[in-house]
């Protein structure tokens, strides 16, 4: 697929593979021409993507393609050298991550980012760190614990003692405590048993149905494309395909490279 860029007729091929995310909702997140390097290691070479309000958008790609780097750039955890990021029309590139939370973005990082030295309850409450509305926090806490009953059972436990699946649930419950309008999820299924993966994806759908826009990074392309509205394929720091999720799941290239199809 990377050959698409060096083909005789790149414009035609690009058009075939990369289509704009045209949906009904207004644009929630717009990333354009994002370049990011870790010192000499260039991770992103001009990434463009759009997330519309109400959508689940997925970003799939192999290990090392730059998916996490894209999310980290969006949430301010790393500083891209070039590009533009807008959240609901507002320029956010260069803002510190703690400011993003106040703008309505929550990022559940790769590896879950659980504070092992805090109790489950303290972890959950940190999710609402930036908020002051007590009754709203209580309501969201109830909502999150209803979505993840396993977390409720473990409230007083040290978070480091949770199993992988429970930690993932805690990480997502915690992200919901910020009442985000945009939720960034980095590989929520990583290392989990298939059954738990099913549950996680079901809940992502419920969260989205309740009005939260989701940008989902996954290696499990099958599951991700199954619940997403729109999908992007990232390869060595470039978007190589962008299409509605159903079409992407059906395309030969994706089936071959990411869905294990032949």
């Amino acid at each position: 697929m990377s050959a698409a860029h060096t083909d005789d007729n790149p414009a035609k091929l690009a058009e075939q593979h990369i289509r704009p995310n045209t949906g009904d909702g207004p644009v929630m997140l717009q990333v354009s021409d994002l370049h990011m390097a870790y010192g000499a290691i260039r991770a992103l070479h001009g990434v463009d993507l759009t997330v519309r309000q109400g959508q689940i958008v997925t970003l799939i790609g192999c290990n090392g393609a730059g998916k996490s780097t894209t999310l980290r750039s969006i949430s301010g955890m790393c500083k891209p050298q070039r590009g533009k990021i807008t959240l609901e029309g507002r320029e956010i590139l260069g803002l510190p991550s703690h400011a993003m939370v106040r703008l309505g973005m929550a990022h559940s990082p790769e590896g879950r980012g659980i504070f092992a030295n805090l109790t489950v309850e303290e972890n959950l409450e940190l999710g609402a760190f930036a908020r002051r509305d007590k009754s709203g926090i209580a309501a969201d806490r109830e909502r999150a614990l209803t979505l993840f009953p396993r977390v409720r059972e473990r409230m007083k436990q040290m978070a480091g003692t949770l199993s992988g699946g429970e930690q993932q649930m805690l990480a997502m419950a915690r992200a919901l405590m910020a009442r985000p309008r945009l939720l960034l999820l980095d590989e929520p299924s990583l290392g989990l048993a298939p059954q738990i993966v099913q549950t996680i994806f079901k809940i992502i759908r419920e969260i989205n149905a309740a009005g939260t826009t989701v940008l989902l990074v996954e290696q499990n392309a099958h599951m991700a494309l199954n619940i997403a509205h729109f999908g992007y394929v990232l390869e060595v720091g470039r978007i190589v395909m962008a299409r509605p999720a159903k079409e992407l799941a059906a395309s030969d290239e994706v089936r071959k490279a990411y869905l294990g199809g032949h």
Partner: protein
């Protein structure tokens, strides 16, 4: 037995000071994972600020230390906390923050540099904050030395009056000679026994009281007479020591006091005979322990029961993820630094009250003191708040009991010996564990 309890009291008083300083090391280590070697110099700054602040106040308003108003202690404590907190903030902001992403060794070396900087600035000859009374010398005008002439003496006829500024009582920076901090906290022995009180009747000899009741003086205990008299209409209190053998004394017997150059006429004076306790409990020690415990309990609540405390523990675990929670990491780190330095300032204030002879800022005495507090933090498990408190009391215990019952010369050896033993048996310290509960 009395010795034992006296040593125990010293352990608790000094242990709580070690604990306060150890908390500063542990808080900073918990968050930034390096040893802030400048922490002991912050302690020195606190002690010298206490000296300078109280000296300036007492001199400017003409109080004797014993008469200082009760709120002066609070004000000087707040001043020390402010000065140390601000210095701690600036050190973190300008020396450590630029190195946040640098290898820990670089930060460690910077910390040593900051420590040396503080020591050397601290002992610079300073500008006088307050001076003692002006010195006025009068001499014949024709005997003036050249130096005296250069000070613009006032010459009237053939006498010259030379005015020299008074001695600098407190300077900023603090200079390189030791000073004595005024004791501005109240101190008294709390558990004394009043054996008798009454009015001295008759008796022509000076310096002698005449009992108006029977008393018994037991052996091996100190006795003191508190005398209240009226001299020229002014009430006057003084404290005299008895110079008599233990035994029973009837009413009407004369009791001699320790001879003085100019003994007072005690006829008609109110007297109170006080027996020293076996184990004196001093108000100052009680204040030290009480304020340290309040601070430690407050810190405990802050770290483990508040949102800011959760944020501190989150930052200590993972800075990046903490910022994703909406936590302003820079603020939390600055806050932690200021908190640690404020605790050191409080400890330094209390220390200057208990041990008012302050060595000059770069003295090795301070370095050793800071090192012991650091050892306390390591013994308890560095990064662990409760461990620092435990370590503080343990270190003081081994130091004071060792000094009392084994040998005074080796008191520092016990401390570092304990460190070695603990590190061999539990490398993470007593309360430190692999699943860290760190701040």
């Amino acid at each position: 037995m009395a010795d034992f309890f006296q040593t125990l009291i010293a352990t608790i008083a000094v242990g709580s000071l070690y604990a306060l300083v150890a908390l500063g090391y542990t808080l900073v280590y918990g968050i930034l994972k390096f040893i802030n070697f400048a922490h002991s110099d912050i302690f020195v700054l606190g002690a010298w600020t206490t000296f300078a602040g109280s000296t300036v106040f007492l001199t400017k308003f003409g109080y004797e230390p014993e008469q200082s108003p009760w709120w002066l202690g609070v004000c000087v404590l707040l001043l020390a906390i402010f000065v140390c907190g601000l210095t701690g903030y600036l050190i973190e902001r300008f020396a450590y923050r630029p190195l946040r992403k640098a290898p820990r060794l670089n930060v460690l070396i910077t910390a040593i540099g900051v420590s040396l900087l503080l020591q050397n600035v601290g002992q610079l000859p300073g500008l006088a904050l307050v001076r003692g009374p002006e010195r006025v010398v009068t001499k014949p005008a024709d005997q003036l030395t050249d130096r005296e002439k250069s000070t613009n003496p006032e010459i009237a006829g053939d006498t010259a009056t030379i005015r020299e500024p008074g001695e600098a009582l407190a300077t900023l920076p603090f200079g390189s000679s030791p000073k004595r901090a005024p004791t501005i906290l109240p101190d008294a022995v709390l558990n004394e026994t009043v054996v008798a009180s009454g009015t001295s009747k008759g008796g022509a000899k000076r310096g002698v009281i005449v009992l108006d009741q029977a008393i018994e003086l037991v052996p091996d205990r100190g006795y003191r007479l508190e005398i209240a008299r009226t001299i020229d209409g002014q009430p006057r209190r003084e404290s005299l020591n008895l110079a008599v053998e233990p035994g029973k004394y009837e009413a009407g017997v004369e009791l001699a006091t320790q001879p003085r150059r100019n003994p007072a006429d005690l006829d008609g004076a109110r007297y109170t005979l006080v027996r020293d306790p076996l184990v004196p409990i001093r108000l100052l020690d009680v204040l030290i322990v009480a304020s340290s415990l309040v601070l430690m309990a407050g810190l405990q609540v802050l770290v483990f029961r508040t949102k800011l405390g959760s944020a501190m523990r989150a930052v200590s675990f993972n800075v990046d993820t903490a910022s994703l929670m909406g936590i302003n990491v820079n603020f939390v780190i600055s806050f932690t630094f200021v908190l640690g330095t404020a605790l050191a300032a409080a400890a330094a204030f209390l220390y200057a009250m208990k041990y008012p002879s302050l060595q000059q800022p770069a003295s090795g005495v301070w370095v050793l003191l800071g090192l012991k507090a650091f050892v306390a933090a390591v013994v308890g498990g560095i990064g662990n708040v409760r461990g620092a408190v435990l370590g503080g009391f343990l270190i003081a215990g081994i130091e004071f009991f060792g000094a009392r019952y084994i040998s005074t010369e080796l008191r520092d050896v016990y401390v570092f010996g304990l460190l070695i033993v603990v590190l061999l048996v539990r490398p993470n310290g007593l309360l430190g564990s692999a699943v860290r509960e760190k701040v």
